[in-house]
């Protein structure tokens, strides 16, 4: 990457104290991510991919090593509102209408009501929920709720998007459509946010990312980084191209290597 890194991990480890003794969630992870890059983190459960994401977002702190975000500590970056977060569950506030959910971050950041409202409505239109601003979350389908959650994360134009299996609870058809929508949202933003996308779907990682970071479990480490050189914009046909299959196979084999290593030891 030519640009300077926006996120840098330098020999980062994370150890949790649990009832059965210390558990190492991440061991000695070094990684740098360029501004505007789309990174997919993939690996079996227990590989620390969510932990890695949470360390970036200052939702947890490393046990050793350092994480730098835009040259700052993750905490400073959080206080500067550099992060938009999307979880697997939409986590919409059920007492707020969809529009007011999207407005929530702006409200907390003290933006004026008219601006908030306008921004929320234009984002809702962008994610295809223009007619649902006054609905309550429970009136929406799972896919629609997740679209609202994405709109909420984008509302304050954060430079970094942290997405923890955001499409994990959706059916396959909805999921593929949402992947395409996410890419078009991402590529139309100026400047493009840096995306950290946690998933355990190989085709999803390959379809979305510039680089797929393959992680191995217990302790969580970076096993391999697979660059995805598929041309953009990526469309429906991308998934049917031989290059796509080749990369899916490459990631799958990297993942299998983490398995055999574990069994072999």
């Amino acid at each position: 990457m030519s640009t300077s890194p926006i996120i840098e991990f330098d020999r980062v480890s994370k150890v949790y104290q649990s009832g059965g003794g210390p558990v190492t969630a991440l061991l000695d992870v070094s990684l740098s991510i360029a501004a505007g890059e789309f990174i997919a983190l993939i690996g079996p459960s227990g590989c620390g991919k969510s932990t890695l994401m949470r360390l970036i977002g200052d939702l947890e702190q490393p046990s050793s090593g350092t994480v730098r975000v835009k040259g700052k500590t993750p905490q400073q970056a959080r206080l500067d509102r550099d992060y938009g977060i999307v979880f697997q569950a939409p986590v919409l506030y059920e007492w707020r209408t969809v529009r007011r959910n999207v407005e929530l971050p702006l409200e907390i950041m003290g933006r004026p009501p008219a601006e908030r409202r306008e921004r929320a409505m234009s984002l809702l239109r962008l994610v295809g929920l223009g007619d649902f601003g006054d609905a309550y979350p429970h009136q929406l389908s799972g896919g629609m709720q997740q679209r609202a959650a994405i709109a909420r994360a984008l509302s304050f134009e954060p430079s970094i998007l942290l997405m923890d299996e955001p499409f994990g609870a959706l059916d396959e058809i909805t999921r593929e459509r949402m992947q395409t929508e996410l890419l078009s949202l991402w590529s139309s933003a100026d400047p493009r946010p840096t995306v950290i996308f946690v998933t355990h779907s190989i085709p999803e990682a390959v379809f979305l990312a510039d680089r797929v970071v393959v992680m191995s479990p217990r302790p969580g480490r970076v096993q391999r980084v697979v660059p995805i050189d598929l041309p953009r914009p990526r469309v429906f046909e991308t998934r049917e191209s031989p290059a796509f299959f080749g990369l899916v196979t490459e990631v799958r084999e990297a993942l299998r290597a983490t398995e055999s290593e574990r069994v072999g030891v």
């Binding site: 959080r78 977060i85 986590v91 506030y93 929530l104 409200e107 907390i108």
Partner: protein, 273 residues
Amino acid sequence: MTYPAQGASETLARRALPIIGLIAALLLLWEGARLLFGLSEQRLPSLGSIVETMFTPTRGGAGPLLIVQMLANGWATFRVALGGFFIGGVLGFGLAVLFMRLPVLERGLMPYVIGSQTVPILAIAPMVVVGLGRMGAPPWLAKMVVAAYLTFFPVTIGMLRGLRSASPQSLDLMRSYAATPFQYFWKLRLPVSLPYLFTALKIAASAAVIGAIVAELPSGAREGIGVMILNAAQYYNSRPQALYLAILVAGLVGISFYGLVVLAEHLIVKWRA
């Protein structure tokens, strides 16, 4: 999906029907029991005689009809219960917020809060009413304090539970927005706890009515359902109907109070399906 125009009246009928049916069945059972076991008016007064008693004038013909007098007393109790409910609600809410912010206080004070509720209210009411009376407090305030005593506890417990029920991820979101502690409370913890609060308030509503009635029992009280119950109990052998009427009015007050809380819940917690 519902069809609003005809749906509204239809659901109303569907809701009212079982209630009316149940009341009819109860009345039938009442009269049936009288016939079956040959019970006298003294053992179980007939419905007819209870209705008749309702419309007898009080004070040997000089006062208002008994039912009017009873409803007036019911209204007096209602006001005391409402005041106590308010005082207890605010106190319970405040304690819950305090306990959430300072768990040390919760560990220290919670045993006393729980202990306060295991002491029979019948034992405490005279102390409060007489004690506060000696200190020059007006009688209505002393009664409200007794009602508040029963009210604050469910509110504290329910509200505390509610304040702690925000999901970890919803808290993570607030953290990522760099929200202030007040914003955490106002925009997340408080709205999350409202359904819990209303569940607690429904319990508190009937507790407040009981507290108000009990507070009217110690000597000196001049109005309220408690006074009516004492009077009616005194003449139970000669005129049992009055006590049944007093119970009916007490139930009426309790149900209307509960209904008010349900109404408030519908107006405030309107995001629920």
